[in-house]
Symmetry: C2
Subunit: 424 residues, 2 copies
Amino acid sequence: MALVVQKYGGSSVADASCIKRVAQRIVATKKAGNDVTVIVSAMGDTTDELLDLAEQVSPLPPGRELDMLLTSGERISMALLAMAIANLGYEARSFTGSQAGVITNSTHGKARIIDVTPSRIREALDRGHIAIVAGFQGVSQDTKDITTLGRGGSDTTAVALAAALDADVCEIYTDVDGIFTADPRIVPTARKIPKVSYDEMMEMAACGAKILHLRCVEYARRFALPIHVRSSFSTREGTWVVSDPYTEGTEMEQPIISGVAHDRSEAKITVVGVPDKVGEAAAIFKTLAGAEINIDMIVQNVSAAATGRTDISFTLPTADSSTALTALKRMQGEIAFESLLFDDQIGKVSLIGAGMRSHPGVTATFFAALADAGVNIEMISTSEIRISVIVDQDDVDVAVAAAHRAFELDADQVEAVVYGGSGR
Amino acid sequence: MALVVQKYGGSSVADASCIKRVAQRIVATKKAGNDVTVIVSAMGDTTDELLDLAEQVSPLPPGRELDMLLTSGERISMALLAMAIANLGYEARSFTGSQAGVITNSTHGKARIIDVTPSRIREALDRGHIAIVAGFQGVSQDTKDITTLGRGGSDTTAVALAAALDADVCEIYTDVDGIFTADPRIVPTARKIPKVSYDEMMEMAACGAKILHLRCVEYARRFALPIHVRSSFSTREGTWVVSDPYTEGTEMEQPIISGVAHDRSEAKITVVGVPDKVGEAAAIFKTLAGAEINIDMIVQNVSAAATGRTDISFTLPTADSSTALTALKRMQGEIAFESLLFDDQIGKVSLIGAGMRSHPGVTATFFAALADAGVNIEMISTSEIRISVIVDQDDVDVAVAAAHRAFELDADQVEAVVYGGSGR
């Protein structure tokens, strides 16, 4: 008997009939002889509606109270799901994050999980019950206040709880069939990836693939917990995220590139005319860190000997732009740079693949493909298993398609893809 | 510095602007130098909407899960209220029933409070915070599951928490100015009662006065906690419910009758031709108790010597009628009664007043007033401070007005009464 942890997102439990359908799938897993623990998000637009209410009451609600408010969303969906399962003749028990032992720090709105002590879940499973757990929420170790985990929170709950329960698999249900070699809306010939490593998945998540959140994959890697990303609208196998996808079976050769990711949510800031002295770059990035801004790519040009000055460019989430620009402007006296340039019409295109380690020439092929497609490269950043370039936002689609073709990722036929929530 | 516990019902926090108004009243109480703990119900129709959702998912949802679902309602209202208070520059902290230490038994849907251990509330008050507590909910001692207290639950939470905190007063905010000598919709000359005893209030609650629930008054009496029932739409004094309203000041003489209550929610069942033997009545009421039906009034006619049979009539909540009739029908073989009669077109009119103890002749005056008004009495039941009669439902208004007049309860002028939620 296996222990299966399943996670259903908001679109999978959007209304009463969705909830009943999910209940049937859960019961089918139980009937197949498994112990089942389910993590569930708030129904459809509930969280947005609650945020709306908060906004009507206060322009800047305290984090503690906002978390208290938002966590009512999962309370509703998990209770309804437990009822729907009971209706099918199986015993289900719903548990809040606190009841499930999801212990966090006390950073409201984006708390981090410190520990998971799921004694009540174990007890429920031992009695043969199906445990339903609220995603996205926990209880702070110090203050015993209710917290929320921030973006990707329910996936993280699922993986953390699966690890604590020593589950055999954590199934993440979504509205697509799995992870694809590229966004099928841009590349209709994109293929579903059967298996991918944690490292590759983390790079994909960091580079704009939205299906799994970086934190949840990090967590799974730490505990070597297999994740199975699959559609709640079909019973097909999805994508397995595991430690090493290519040692287990010999059925396939490792591809050089696993996928092409893209991200349009970043902007670029260039600090022009920075004095080329020790410590100036440090001062810039200390200023940005102080404003709690996550920097992605950084490029420093070679200093022009004549001026003794250099330009430093970096990318960051567009949403953080004005905070970053304000913080830098305030430091202009100390850092003595000349000016700031800002560009939010950029896009990032990334090649990801553990296979590129053993294949020299990947960069050359990639850049040649972009050049042939007429795409200009503005910035470059690489890791051992990733190459990212910043291009004009209008060139993103062309660049993704060109890279996908150049590394022979195109499927022979277009797969029947359910994307973006159709089929609901 | 006094400790004031305030309770606001669903209509007082129906939307964002209501919540802001309530926040101002709470802050005013705090500004006046009091410690303040607030108990809040779910917003307006939230509970009904959640029940609707449950019904869509399951015809008979498990009690544990229904409680989990319904308690999300107060979670929303209390978090929003805390935000609104923070907006006014005061620190507020919201607490679930569980966090507030409301310990109950595990009867889901109508749990009883076993203990209140409000250490987190005390701590919040000690820090100068305003504590906001979810009404209607608690946590079961045995299973640590979330429970709800059933009808009148938020009032009971307020009184229980006020008692545990040794509060100076528990203010119950409603949409009328207090307790009236009769329902002002029936008797426009009804007066607001300035003070009333716990015993009288309990009789009123049991006889159909809907403003305070019986359980909450029982609880307040046990701890001699003063309740102040008042309008959330004005700052006027409402009605004080206290141990002995007439010993404290000498400003008023005790009235014979405090008020006239009525109730249209009961039905009457008559068990015809019960063998006049020891144990037959016991068998009937044991049957009803087994079906968990609360009986109100009981009348047994004198047995007709010729037949050796008697009729037993009783009243019960109309909603329980079919359960009761089915249970009795099933016992007809054993009890050997002849037939069952059912009448839901009845109403109960009750005179309540501690003063009637020392005034003989109250019954005579009451019955004479009803006779003069042409009202026929079907059943009679009395306690030391109450006389109730069952009449035809169409006669209820006339009977209430006649009794009100006969005991000189009419005000000289019609008070400006806000009733039934107008003014919102």
